[in-house]
């Protein structure tokens, strides 16, 4: 038993420095709250445990929205991408979607540096094992080393760490992602407080060595020659001219044969895995069983960074035993002589049933306690970050005695995401899709600033300088739009209106 000691008084504490936690902590600190960001391992800040990419349909829209509110994800990926592509350009403007391949190491380091340099924000390594709650009001947290930190708001962004369990074939052990220490006691603390938890599952494919790939047997997938950026603040990037391609290959008949021959060793089918996995992110063994008539499946080979030889094998998420994984890899054209550097695995974790949350992401059970990201049953970095910034904003506003900011389904994908979670719940890890948004045509990636920047400005996350730029752009748009349309386009009318102060805060919406 460690001896407890008082380690400090803050206004907001964020537990976990993944994509949700980083946005939450940055938002709270930038809104003027003394904020503590705790993470089990400082080397894992903004880590991408799965695919090295950000964006795509709906997800890319969310990154734009985060940026429009004054969040970090867009700026950070603009500084660290190795490839940028605009997808869906042949479809309607509402579903054009930006997608970046990230240098995942640079992404982490850049985010960590931003956090370290942000005033009001303290980044510290520590594993939170308990919450201090008095009469259903959160007071602080306790770490494994006995440190007691106090605050008015606590944001839980625990990702897949809660009672995390890695599964690879017959092998199974308690672990967070990428062999990090799991968080076991915090899960028990949540149960004690009366929270209903569910068990979810996700997975990741193996990583392979670049020098052992025969790229001549694959198709090149280059980035856009003139890339667009996620952040409205990014005007250009030195990375634009030095993009790296991805490569496309396919599974073979032999791949399918190997998998079918080894299904008895697949935890997916032997009943070992108890967590519910996402349907949209099936393992390769799942795909081959469920879509047995499909002769081949796409495999994308994606570089994990500029200064690493690791390649991510997209399409090959699996929890097969290690020896089977190697055989599967070597049955794929281009990978015949490949060396596997990391083994794919499935991971199970605890999540909070999200219908226990208010639309502000504060828990109904404990006042001042917020949750965001995978703990709320979602999947994806962007979904996590979108919730993270909202939880951070509302944790800060809770401290400041202000009404929460709640985005409507008609104004942001983030609004759709949170509304779906807290009203409908989810019975699998929730992924945002454009089809979930009934106002899809309004929620374009290119009007995210018109939709959200006034809100970001009002809550104090958008700087004066940026807001002036935004207003100028709005006025330009209005001039362009007005002659053609008396009513003004949504953009022109909104931004003109938006530049008045006190625009669209929760209290005005009732």
């Amino acid at each position: 038993m460690t001896t407890g000691y008082e380690a400090g008084q803050y206004e907001v504490i964020v537990i976990g420095a993944g994509h949700a936690g980083c946005e939450a902590a940055l938002a709270a600190a930038r809104m003027g709250c003394r904020t503590l960001l705790l993470t089990i391992n400082l080397d894992m800040v903004a880590f991408m445990p799965c695919n090295p990419s950000i964006g795509g349909p709906a997800k890319g829209h969310v990154v734009r929205e985060i940026d429009a509110l004054g969040g970090e994800m867009g700026r950070n990926i603009d500084k660290t991408f190795i490839q940028m592509r605009m997808l869906n350009t042949g479809k309607g403007p509402a579903v054009h979607a930006l997608r970046a391949q990230a240098d995942k190491f640079l992404y982490q380091h850049t985010m960590k540096e931003t956090i370290e340099r942000t005033p009001n924000l303290t980044l510290r390594q520590g594993m939170v094992e308990d919450l201090i709650v008095e009469e259903n009001v959160v007071k602080g947290v306790v770490t494994k080393t006995g440190a007691q930190y106090y605050a008015h708001s606590v944001v839980l962004t625990t990702g897949t760490y809660l009672r995390g369990k890695i599964i690879m074939g017959e092998l199974m052990y308690e672990s967070g992602p990428n062999n990090q220490q799991p968080s076991v006691k915090l899960s028990e603390a949540l149960r004690r407080l009366g929270f209903e938890l569910v068990r979810f599952k996700t997975g990741t494919p193996p990583r392979v060595h670049k020098e052992t790939i025969d790229f001549s047997k694959t198709e090149i997938q280059p980035g856009d020659a003139e890339p667009k950026y996620f952040s409205y603040e990014t005007e250009s990037s030195p990375r634009a001219g030095e993009q790296l391609p991805c490569w496309l290959t396919y599974t073979s008949e032999e791949t399918h044969q190997i998998i079918n021959d080894n299904l008895h060793r697949a935890p997916m089918f032997s009943g070992v895995i108890e967590g519910t996995g996402p349907r949209y992110c099936p393992s390769i063994e799942d795909k081959i069983v469920r879509f047995s008539d499909k002769p081949k499946h796409q495999i994308f080979l994606e570089p994990e960074g500029r200064y690493t030889s690791e390649y991510y094998v997209q399409g090959l998420s699996t929890s097969m035993p290690e020896d089977v994984q190697l055989n599967i890899l070597r049955s794929i054209p281009g990978l015949e002589r490949v060396e596997m550097m990391r083994t794919g695995y499935a991971i199970e974790y605890d999540a909070v049933v999200p219908t226990q949350l208010k639309p502000s992401l504060e828990t109904k059970l404990v006042s001042g306690l917020f949750t965001a990201g995978q703990i709320n049953g979602t999947s994806g970095y962007e979904e996590a970050a979108g919730q993270g910034i909202m939880a951070g904003i509302n944790a800060a506003r809770h401290v400041q005695g202000k009404e929460p900011v709640i985005l409507d389904r008609s104004e942001a994908y983030i609004g759709v995401l949170i509304d779906d979670l807290v009203t409908k719940g989810t019975n699998e890890p929730y992924r945002l899709l454009t089809s979930r948004a009934e106002y899809r045509l309004l929620l374009r990636h290119d009007n995210a600033d018109l939709r959200l920047t006034p809100t970001g400005y009002d809550i104090g996350l958008i700087t004066e300088e940026r807001y002036r730029q935004f207003c100028k752009k709005g006025a330009r748009r209005a001039r362009v739009a007005a002659p053609e349309n008396d009513k003004g386009t949504a953009g022109g009318a909104r931004s003109g209106y938006a530049c008045r102060s006190g625009y669209r805060l929760a209290e005005q919406r009732g």
Binding site: P278, C281, Q298
Partner: protein
């Protein structure tokens, strides 16, 4: 949430027996408080009938003898525990039992609440629930059969098939949008055209049955017109008495006028009372005539009765003119008497198959009249055994809306509008069809996406 409800399920009045239905979580327990029998009601096997007495739980006074049927959830009409109490069919007897049940804290059911619960508990969908009332109100054998098919879910099944075709297409479009780099075939305008026009064709087919369905459900509003003494009343009596399958007087329930339903060869006619139409200076009679004109204007079918033993009068000539272009059958009555009427004059105005000669006095010619009516509305025959009829005005409206949405989708497709915009029209059609059966949950589209396509990392 689901409290226990009770209502008298048989018509109020004197009858051999009456049935009170109780439904809800506590149906068995609360009825058990009143019911004395060999076995405790809470312990009897499901779907069995018990004989016993209904007693006041406080005084022990015997209120009624009863046969009590227990049907436990989910094998019951409402999918809840249901108890049916059969007792003597008298107003007092039934009311005593019902009052005793309400004393136990059971709530009096609202009209249609049992069916509503069956819908909410997922035993039946909306079209099936609606058909239950059609079944109860059926005025003819065929209307009953049509309703029965709907209760069985025939219409729902057809709608389900149409929606499935749409949702497959929509899922394909969604995958193109949300997974642009996946090796799923790009949606082509030919695919959209193909599915949308295919569904329109089927909706059209269903809508074609609508007119007949409406007739079967609501009856053909029929005006019998003619000058006084041509046999109008006799015709009405003949139809009412000889062909009366069910005659219902429904004051005030659906409309203010009293209508009489008669069943002619399986076709329900809703006979509308009309006074003779003629010029008059009497104010009261003028009002009557005015109403007759309204009835005449609203009628689906006009039976013009003429006396064949008299020449055509000026007024009758005018009537013939007035009803040109309407669904009309001209009845030449009194063929037992020597003809005086110039038939050629009429045959110039009315096709032969719409002229029926009969003698109401000698009861001759009624089958020909039935045949004429049947061929006028059903082109020779009613195919209630084969067809799924769309008869409900709400359904017809939604089918028409869905049709319009699909036409919009096709038009947008022709103009090469991006697929995410065409999707809006497809989705509208899908939801409108879903509204008919009471199912428009967006989740099923996402389910379809992941069951139809292999996606993801």
């Amino acid at each position: 949430m689901n409290d226990t409800i009770a209502a008298i399920s048989t018509p109020l009045g004197e009858g051999g027996i009456a049935v009170i239905r109780v439904s809800g979580e506590q149906a068995v327990e609360l009825t058990g408080h009143l019911f004395r029998s060999k076995q405790k009601l809470t312990e009897v096997p499901t779907h069995t009938v018990q004989y016993g007495t209904i007693r006041d739980p406080d005084s022990g006074e015997k209120l009624e003898e009863a046969l009590v049927t227990v049907m436990r959830a989910p094998r019951s009409f409402t999918r809840e525990d249901v108890v049916e109490i059969g007792c003597h069919g008298g107003i007092v007897a039934v009311k005593r039992v019902l009052d005793a049940l309400l004393e136990q804290g059971i709530r009096l059911a609202e009209p249609g609440e049992f069916t509503k619960r069956a819908f909410l508990n997922g035993r039946i969908d909306l079209t099936q629930a609606e058909a239950v009332i059609d079944l109860i109100r059926a005025k003819s054998d065929r209307a009953f059969k049509v309703a029965m098919k709907q209760v069985d879910g025939k219409l729902s099944k057809r709608i389900g098939q149409l929606r499935h075709r749409l949702v497959e297409l929509m899922a394909h479009i969604e995958v193109n949008i949300d997974y642009p780099e996946h090796d799923v075939a790009e949606m082509t305008s030919a695919m959209i055209e193909d599915v949308a026009s295919g569904v329109i064709a089927e909706v059209d087919e269903l809508l074609r049955t609508a007119e007949q369905g409406k007739i079967l459900r609501e009856g053909i509003s029929t005006a019998i017109i003619g000058k006084p003494n041509v046999g109008k009343s006799s015709l009405l009596n003949a139809l009412a008495q000889e062909n009366r399958a069910i005659v219902t007087d429904i004051p005030g329930t659906t409309r203010d006028v009293i209508e009489e339903y008669v069943n002619v060869g399986g076709i329900p006619l809703r006979l509308l009372d009309t006074a003779g139409i003629r010029e008059t200076s009497d104010i009261v009679e003028q009002i009557g005539v005015e109403r007759s004109r309204t009835a005449l204007a609203d009628a689906d079918l006009i039976l013009l009765v003429l006396n064949r033993s008299e020449p055509l009068s000026q007024e009758e000539m005018e009537l013939l003119e007035q009803i040109r272009g309407r669904q009309t059958i001209v009845i030449l009555n009194k063929i037992d008497l020597p003809p005086q009427l110039d038939e050629e004059q009429i045959r110039r105005l009315v096709p032969d198959e719409r002229i029926v000669e009969l003698s109401l006095l000698e009861e001759k010619g009624l089958p020909q009249l039935e045949k004429a009516i049947s061929s006028l509305f059903f082109r020779g025959g009613i195919e209630a055994n084969e067809l799924t009829y769309v008869s409900n005005a709400r359904h017809i409206h939604l089918f028409k809306q869905a049709r319009r949405s699909l036409q919009d989708a096709i038009a947008a497709n022709v103009q090469q509008v991006p697929i995410d915009m065409i999707q809006i029209d497809l989705r509208a059609a899908w939801e409108q069809l879903g509204e008919i059966i009471g199912d428009s949950v967006a989740e099923s589209l996402i389910d379809q996406i992941f069951s139809q396509f292999c996606l993801g990392k």
